[in-house]
């Protein structure tokens, strides 16, 4: 493969790559000079791309790590939380297969961001009595915590609280609402 040293700015490279994208046989004629892009700060006017007669593969730049999660504020983080809730059956604090899958993903996130501390909130649907649900919500939060600890998350990072049926996520009075309200819900409290 022939590689040319291209002493050009970013715009020139992109235009060149775009030109190469066409399937037609390359025509050996000069590319018109690019229109100057005022938005490109401190960029010199790109030199015209030299004529080519074969497509050139442009290697990707090394990708910056995705820091949109790490850089988000706590509020933004909790608004679009990367930590998924674990849902429960009626009157149960058992971690079923679906809850386990969610918690496995959560464990991966917590391992990726090892400084995060989270509170696990236990919630219940409205069918149990208020007092019973205080204890049930706690069992759900603790069950989620225990599972995360069992897959390697430090218990020091995980606090639990029960909200019983005090704060339903869905105020409805049918199963569709109830199943949303039976959950262990994650709140990131420190990064």
């Amino acid at each position: 493969m022939r590689r040319r040293a291209v002493n050009a700015g970013l715009v020139g490279v992109l235009m060149f790559a775009a030109a190469c994208h066409h399937k037609q046989p390359p025509i050996a004629r000069p590319t018109p000079p690019p229109v100057e892009e005022p938005a490109t700060a401190s960029a010199r006017p790109p030199a015209p791309a030299p004529p080519v007669d074969r497509p050139v593969t442009v290697p990707d730049e090394p990708r910056l790590s995705d820091d949109s999660v790490a850089s988000a504020s706590l509020d933004d983080l909790n608004r679009n939380s990367p930590l998924k809730p674990a849902f429960f059956e009626l009157d149960s604090s058992d971690i079923n297969a679906t809850a386990k899958a969610a918690l496995d993903e959560d464990a991966a996130v917590l391992k990726r961001y090892p400084t995060w501390a989270v509170t696990i909130e236990g919630h219940c649907d409205e069918r149990g009595s208020a007092e019973y649900n205080l204890a049930l919500g706690e069992r759900r939060a603790v069950a989620a915590k225990s599972y995360l600890v069992s897959v390697g998350i430090s218990a020091d990072r995980l606090k639990t609280v029960s909200y019983g049926k005090e704060f339903p996520f869905d105020p409805g009075h049918e199963e569709a609402a109830w199943l949303k309200n039976r959950r262990a819900h994650f709140v990131v409290t420190a990064k």
């Binding site: 909200y163 005090e166 704060f167």
Partner: protein, 463 residues
């Protein structure tokens, strides 16, 4: 009425609310003046054992200013309601009093005209403004005997700010002397409410804080007692009526706080973070100890600590969940919930105060939140699952008979007895959102006390 009062008070800060409560506590009635010679200490009866018929006309204002006129009218009407509340008397409706020539003083009464209405007892009162407040003079007349009886203090004085409290005091005195009954007209309810729609701190979810409020027994005079954008719930008055213990989430997990709503004593946290979740406090009858539910050793178990939280002792030791304790009136036993019978359902159990001799009391599909009646009754009220929701039921501990106070009208939970055992306050969703209701122990006289926002988990002050 109630709502207007609420709107007037809801906006003020908690500190103000607390001081307002303190200042609205009326001065104690003056010591009873010596009985007049014509008074006879006796009880008013009825003919042939029929219901004793009472009449309470509006009190007589001794001046024409608006405040005095309004107070006189309020006291008479509230007293009528207070006396009606216990069903000890057949209250003669006010709209038939027009046939009776109005009294002009406490000693001016037309016995014959009241006799025409078949009245057995008539309360006549006057209201007079003084330099420091108001003076209320009262006589209870035995119509058939044509004399006054010393059933009440002859004179009450205090602030005119809340005339209702005069009626409540007179009512309690009449029940005490005429029926040997502890009235509840001066008692209060404490409950949790989200009515101020304050956003709970520390979460992105739109959650309203719940704070504690107190009201008179009839739902009037609702005032806020806690502040801080927290979740506070499940309050219980101390036996002396001075402090309230409740479950608070203010430090994160559930912990137990003790607070004096009338004074300036700082709030005291009697359980600490790091010792599990601690919730549902219940005062011992002598006020020295608090039983509560805690997960400090794993699953939910019952503990008892001194009222300041020290020396917590674990009472139950099971692999199951025990919680929601309530003391027997003599302090010797504790009723509570346990799920040891399985199926993730709780039943009510009773054990000795040291945790020994547990035995099962209820056999419902599920039962929660027991509350033990005061004497002379020996009953436990609880919320029983009825499928979609709960009903308030009462089990008589002598006969083990169970009766339902509610029958599927919405979700009915978290019962609390009035200090005379004759009434129950509870949470019901029958009108939409949770609201506070009262009902008598036989399931009659349902009254809705709250309307604004969501209101729940009432507890009745012991005095």
């Amino acid at each position: 009425m109630m709502c207007k009062k609420f709107l007037g008070t809801c906006a003020i800060a908690g500190a103000l609310a607390i001081s307002a409560i303190a200042s609205q506590q009326p001065a104690s009635p003056p010591p009873q003046t010596p009985s007049q010679p014509s008074d006879v200490t006796t009880t008013i009866g009825s003919e042939r054992g029929a219901a004793i018929r009472y009449a309470v006309p509006d009190f007589i204002p001794l001046s024409t200013d608006r405040e005095t006129v309004d107070a006189a009218r309020t006291i008479g009407r509230v007293l009528w309601d207070d006396l009606n509340y216990e069903h000890e008397f057949a209250m003669i409706p006010r709209d038939v009093y027009a046939s009776v020539p109005p009294s002009r003083s406490v000693d001016d009464i037309n016995f014959d005209a009241w006799r025409e209405l078949n009245a057995d007892g008539v309360v006549i009162g006057t209201v007079q403004k003084t330099d420091t407040g108001v003076r209320v003079q009262v006589r209870l007349f035995d119509i058939k005997q044509r004399r006054s009886v010393s059933a009440v203090g002859n004179e009450y004085s205090g602030s005119i700010a809340n005339p209702r409290i005069f009626a409540h005091t007179i009512s309690d005195d009449i029940f005490k002397t005429q029926r040997a009954l502890v009235g509840v007209a001066r008692t209060k309810l404490v409950f949790a409410s989200d009515r101020d729609e304050e956003r709970l701190a520390g979460t992105v979810e739109k959650r309203s804080a719940k704070e504690l409020y107190v009201s008179d027994y009839d739902g009037e005079n609702q005032r806020r007692v806690t502040t801080g954008f927290y979740l506070n719930n499940f309050p219980e008055w101390s036996p002396d009526g001075h402090t309230i213990a409740y479950t608070t989430w203010r430090t994160g997990p559930m912990q137990i706080a003790v607070q004096n709503p009338y004074g300036t004593t700082p709030l005291q946290m009697i359980t600490k973070n790091g010792e599990g979740q601690n919730f549902l406090p219940a005062w011992s009858p002598d006020g020295t100890r608090i039983a509560f539910e805690s997960t400090r050793d794993g699953n939910g178990e019952i503990y008892v600590a001194n009222a300041d939280g020290s020396h917590a002792v674990r009472l139950t030791r099971t692999p199951w969940n025990e919680g929601a304790p309530t003391w027997s009136p003599n302090g010797q036993q504790i009723a509570y919930t346990s799920d040891r019978t399985g199926n993730a359902q709780t039943q009510i159990w009773i054990m000795d105060k040291d945790g020994l001799d547990p035995h099962q009391l209820t056999h419902e599909s599920s039962a929660d939140r027991p509350t033990w009646s005061p004497p002379p009754f020996n009953e436990i009220a609880y919320s029983a699952s009825n499928g979609p929701g709960h009903d308030i039921r009462i089990i008589d501990l002598n006969t083990r008979e169970v009766r339902s106070l509610t029958n599927g009208e919405g979700d009915n939970e978290s019962a609390a007895f009035a200090p005379n055992g004759r009434h129950i306050a509870f949470t019901s969703s029958r009108a939409g959102k949770n609201q506070i209701f009262t009902i008598n122990r036989m399931g009659q006289d349902l009254k809705q006390l709250t309307k604004t926002g969501l209101n729940e988990r009432p507890n009745w002050s012991p005095k």
